[in-house]
């Protein structure tokens, strides 16, 4: 392995904390793969070996799991993962067009990364925000109700080194590595940040209040 001593020591401490959450150590494998991505920006050969050693598995067993899940990247990922939903509903509402214009604008295709390593584009499947279609995700934060212009602006800002803010989520999008650490189950202090619940989330509650409807039983 090529991790330096300090990195390896920190990884080991973090991994032990992850493993302690489960009655059976192997359950820690998914979060450990997220943890490896928080160091390397992808599931590296070193990362696979680290997980294998920690959980007493073979590297082949770890690879078999890592290749099953789309969030684990086989090549160094961009600092920002930009996903455009092109599942049916978002695609029909404009997601196909957003993807096409964004991909042409950035000059990379699906699962490809810009030369500067900043942005990886991805066509993603339904991300459970259909009431905000068309949807884009940047490092797994919500960018709701997108247009080709808004999507290109977000990516232009990222490429220019500016912070970007989701429509629902934290005050700014953290990097792919930072987000991967959260996905390994480590809090990052951003949970109370909020851009508002969102119109579609509250629309039914609003209608009920306007009409004086309550679930008080009849």
């Amino acid at each position: 392995m090529t991790y330096d001593d300090a990195t390896l020591a920190q990884l080991g401490t973090d991994a032990d904390a992850v493993i302690a959450r489960y009655p059976v150590a192997r359950s820690a494998l998914l979060p450990l793969l997220h943890l490896v991505q928080s160091i390397d920006g992808f599931v590296s050969p070193d990362g696979i070996q680290f997980c294998a050693d920690k959980l007493d598995l073979t590297a082949a067993e770890v690879s078999a799991v890592a290749t099953f899940y789309t969030q684990y990247k086989r090549r160094p990922n961009g600092e920002y993962q930009v996903g455009v939903c092109t599942n049916t509903l978002c695609a029909v509402m404009g997601g196909d067009r957003i993807w096409q214009e964004l991909s042409d604008h950035v000059g990379v295709g699906h699962d490809e990364t810009t030369e500067d390593g900043k942005v990886t584009l991805e066509r993603i499947e339904c991300n459970a925000a259909c009431d905000y279609a068309p949807v884009m995700m940047v490092n797994w934060e919500f960018f709701d109700n997108q247009t080709p212009e808004s999507a290109k602006q977000v990516v232009d800002d990222i490429l220019a080194g500016k912070d970007v803010t989701p429509t629902r989520g934290a005050d700014k999008v953290s990097t792919f590595k930072e987000v991967s650490r959260v996905l390994a189950g480590f809090e990052d202090g951003h949970a109370d940040e909020d851009q508002g619940a969102g119109e579609a989330t509250l629309v039914g509650l609003k209608v009920a209040k306007e009409r004086g409807w309550k679930a008080d039983g009849q």
């Binding site: 998914l30 799991v65 899940y69 049916t88 042409d104 459970a128 009431d131 934060e141 987000v179």
Partner: protein, 447 residues
Amino acid sequence: MTDTAPAPTELTPVLSATWDLEKSWSIGTYTDNGGYAGLTKALAMAPGDLVQAVKDSGLRGRGGAGFPTGMKWGFLPPDDGGPRYLVVNADESEPGTCKDIPTMLAAPHTLIEGVIITSFAIGCNHAFIYLRGEVVHVYRRLLQAVREAYEAGHLGQDIHGTGYNLEVTVHAGAGAYICGEETALLDSLEGRRGQPRLKPPFPAGAGLYARPTVVNNVESIASVPAIVDKGVEWFTGMGTERSKGMGFFSLSGHVAKPGQYEAPLGITLRELLEMAGGMREGHELKFWTPGGSSTPIFTDEHLDTPLDYESVGAAGSMLGTRALQIFDETTCVVRAVMRWTEFYKHESCGKCTPCREGTYWLALILKRLEAGNGTYADIQQLLDTCDSIAGRAFCALGDGATSSIISSVNLFREEYEAHVRDGGCPFDHAASALFPFEAADTTGARA
């Protein structure tokens, strides 16, 4: 409520009642508005009485299958002294479904309280919440909510001085629709590829780590505190004869005001559309899914079908997750179905041949048809291939993949034939989008 001309259905915000409050996700806001009152009551009850109460409430699984929740709990074998587990399915990924994510974002303590009550009821001392990995802010909120619950003494050792102990682990997945299938979810939670298991044994007998396990959807578990706090009769006062209580109806697509509408089961799309401001201006309803992309599609003929398990089933579809994806007359049904089919192909876990091979060929044929290169025989081939998958696949993913195909060919065969006859798609895809653009081409983007 049983008159021939029932009163118009009213919305019933229960889980969503606090979502517009300041810091709605915090334990302070939740508790100040009646949160954790259900837990206090539950801990004073006998666990068996809690299971009976949820049975009596008629609560049915809100994750799609609609299996009675209390009955699922009742299937656990008698206590043998070993561990038993509660696993919450928070892997919300069914296309169109978008109710659990806002629930966990806006009021994660509703779920945490439900987890504690349920765990106490079934004798579980370690519960898991399996969240899909692609929603980082939701994970932040859940991690914080669990920490707050520990700090408040709702979790950990000797909860509320009762001697009851419970640990909760919130686990993030890593991108795989199939992990919403409960046994695939368990394999994934055990650190393996998320592939479904042969049933039986069912999770109640041999689930997580081969121990007795209850797997329930987020909305099911989040409904439990209100049932305990407000009572079974309050809950059964909502809904229909066999579909009790309230649930989220998630409207998306070409409607004026898409979003979450929490209503009694049995509400109709016509009623929901009235609340949602109707279809987008100048357009009319063409087709819709009652419960996500795995449920056969409906048309305007089903505007008055009560959205409860029995009525939707009798009309040939499934209530599913109440994910109402609504499309207007500008939408090409072949394009919509093709994209869903590509999704199932992508998400098929590969374990069984009918689903792995079948979804592959379905996607190829649909792509050819949609592009105008198909033949009339392709339409029959689609149905034949569906027939080789439905009922023959290892899990419900394969069945779900055939739903939109079979129903759309039944309802819109002439539209499939038009693609063959005209050698192309007769629809202007730009007309379906929410923003204007030149129609030239929307299908040839870098794939």
